[in-house]
Symmetry: C2
Subunit: 441 residues, 2 copies
């Protein structure tokens, strides 16, 4: 913000901040509506009026939930990025390549700032884009890219800037959380709820981005960069999706006082940067365990602040548009931060490390109806140094196989992965066994 | 932040931001330690080095948990505020009048920015100070003034700036929450836990500030101003402390699935601005109900974002110093916002309104052992339009009186207050009856 506060009256005040919006889907229209409905409020808070000058979307004739007739319609994102009457490019198209990336690069090259909700682009090309922004004295803001309306980008890069941050974790994909909580509450199998979610429009065009944990990992990689001052390293995230979670897993976890959540954890240890996204068991009565539907929660731990928890809607028109507006208002106020909270050249190359911190594990496997089968498994685990806390064998099915549920005492991920490789070779395990980490958060 | 990112190397980079710290208690020393221990990290994030040049506290010889020999010792806050080698006054003394206020006013008048944790000063003199800051083109930042390490000032004034905010509420006094949760967990009476808290150093010199709800109300009034664009109106907060809460209330609330919390609520309704701070019953399994010890939680509701919840340590050296550092780093980055998020002249004079939204209420009273006593009470409530959900009379004590517990259906605060006035006049109620609002948050 400039040193002298700007006059409050928009009519005689400073020049408006002129926005060009690319993408008029749910979020884009949400942004248009906020700017139209709260013009006075925004001008007072931002110190100057916000004005949409140009818009661009795939289909001009589509019926939209807002009057866009007052804005210049531009046919291509690149053209919009080059317009003289656009100060800030608001990119709400998505995708790591193509139109979105091209428009952002053009905008930066031509001295415009960028606001985007594009987590994939930042997770994959974040370093190059940050360097590009700095070369031109511009910035990219992306509060909407992670956890919807939750102000986690600002919290890490500004509010906790006095802290050495040790860990960031949370539930950051509302669609997965919707699927997992809906399976639990309705007692429905994964496939049924997945189909429901698709019909409700909750899934990305490529649903693997959601249920495969990729979207959430994009977000985790961005938060890790901000928190630890490292270059964004999406490739180094250990990713596991929720596709293997069965209604049986959910019910059995519930019996033991747990919920299954797609949990992301990024932390700095002596071994390096650990980033993992995987379904985990968390206590049912913990704040994470109680998280319902599309709600997100992010937990940050810093050396001075201790633990901070932020919760809110992780997606949807209003929450995501709210985050976009936060970025737009910051730019209107004249605030321009480096993209990852510090000059891009100074971001360290991370040393990726696999998760090594011990935890209890939940194992589910199907035993063939053979004499001594259970003993074989118990022996194998014992030989791998894994000690069993609880084991339960369910009745044999007609087919002659029996589900077995095991909860281990704390053990290393290495020991578990070794055991998971050996299990199929025993000749008594049918199908793929499943292992889930238990996080006592 | 300036348009061109600043060089990362402090040695050849821009001039340091020079801090003068007034007050070297827990928080002040916490700030000194962060600046000493994280100098490189802070310089990179802030874009320039942070340098303490001068300090001022009551007792120069006191043994402190940090080496302060490198800083100029100044005998009076006013003198520090006037020094040429101080860019930012960090005020950590507290109090609405005297040295703190004088130093802040002097600093502003002489072109320095201010960072403070002084909620009382801002709640009482916020408008005048904001106007003063603007006259001199300076600002006052106060993230540490509300809810310790939780970044609630930034969340409301920046992250949610695109929202029309309807309600802010939360638990904002860690000492009261400590007392209430400790009474519950240890089964101890109020007086005993109050004395424990005093010995642990949790209480202000004047404990009424904590247990009387005044400190929390200072915070609530500040948040209301930020959220609603109104002048801070501490005098208009309806305040009730926790002094009347007995271990019986806590136990009986627990039996019904509730916890008692000192809850602050500020909201805009058609009738005006409601601000109240009072002990309330909240569901035991709700996020607010689960809040233990000194932890704070703030909930904000906006028209786009929906509901956002922030949780963290509400006090203590590290969390509060973390919040102070957030403000210092923002100033180092060149960010300078109006004190209450918009020009002070534009802040509306609030129209205070008493709480009118209906709720269920918890009533506790002591009945004399007289025939028809309970019937009298029930009749009185019925005549007042209050319908009873649950009523329980406990056994008569040796003295011949019996505690009675009543939970009402939803009713207006007006009806309850009317009934509370009439109850003593029935001749069958001994002592002061108690009423607590039940918030289904």
């Amino acid at each position: 913000m400039s040193a002298t506060p700007l006059p409050a009256s928009p009519s005689h005040g400073p020049a408006p901040l002129r926005l060009g919006i690319v993408g008029l889907g749910t979020v884009g229209i949400g942004v248009v509506k906020i700017i139209q409905n709260h013009a006075d409020l925004l001008a007072v808070r931002a110190g100057r009026p916000l004005q949409i000058t140009a818009i661009c979307a795939r289909d001009r004739t589509r019926n939209r939930d807002a009057d866009i007739s007052g804005y210049a319609w531009v046919d291509s994102p690149a053209e919009l990025a080059l317009r003289d009457d656009v100060d800030v490019l608001v990119e709400l198209v998505g995708g790591t390549e193509g139109a979105a990336r091209e428009a952002i690069e053009l905008a930066l090259d031509h001295g415009k700032d960028v606001v985007t909700a594009n987590k994939a682009l930042l997770a994959v090309h974040g370093q190059a884009l940050a360097e590009r922004a700095e070369r031109h004295g511009r910035t990219i803001r992306y509060e909407a890219a992670v956890a919807g309306g939750i102000p986690i980008i600002k919290a890490i890069s500004e509010s906790l800037a006095g802290n050495r941050i040790s860990r960031v974790m949370g539930v950051m994909n509302g669609t997965c959380n919707y699927i997992l909580t809906r399976m639990q509450s309705a007692g429905l199998p994964y496939e049924t709820v997945f189909e429901e979610a698709r019909q409700l429009g909750y899934l990305e065009a490529d649903p693997t981005l959601d249920v495969g944990g990729i979207d959430a990992s994009h977000k985790l990689a961005i938060l890790a960069s901000l928190a630890f001052g490292t270059r964004v390293a999406f490739d180094a995230v250990e990713i596991e999706g929720i596709e293997r979670i069965s209604i049986d897993d959910i019910n059995r976890a519930a019996d033991m006082g747990y919920r299954i959540k797609l949990l992301g954890v990024a932390q700095i240890t002596a071994r390096g940067l650990e980033q993992r996204m995987s379904p985990c068991l968390v206590p049912s009565d913990s704040p994470l365990g109680q998280l319902e539907g599309g709600t997100n929660m992010v937990v940050v731990e810093g050396d001075s602040v201790g633990q901070i928890v932020l919760r809110g809607a992780g997606a949807g028109e209003g929450p995501t548009a709210s985050a976009v507006m936060s970025d737009v208002i910051e730019l209107a106020r004249g605030v321009r931060m480096p993209v990852f909270g510090q000059p891009a050249a100074g971001l360290a190359a991370p040393q990726p490390a696999r998760t090594a911190i011990p935890a209890a594990y939940y194992l589910r496997l199907t035993l063939a109806d053979k004499p001594g089968a259970l003993a074989k498994i118990a022996t194998l685990l014992g030989d791998a140094g894994i000690s069993i806390d609880r084991m339960r064998q369910y009745g044999h099915t007609v087919g002659g196989s029996a589900p077995v549920l095991i909860v281990t005492h704390k053990t290393t991920p290495e020991a578990i992965h070794h055991a998971m490789e050996l299990l199929p070779r025993t000749g008594v395990v049918e199908g793929d066994p499943i292992e889930l980490r238990i996080e006592e958060v």
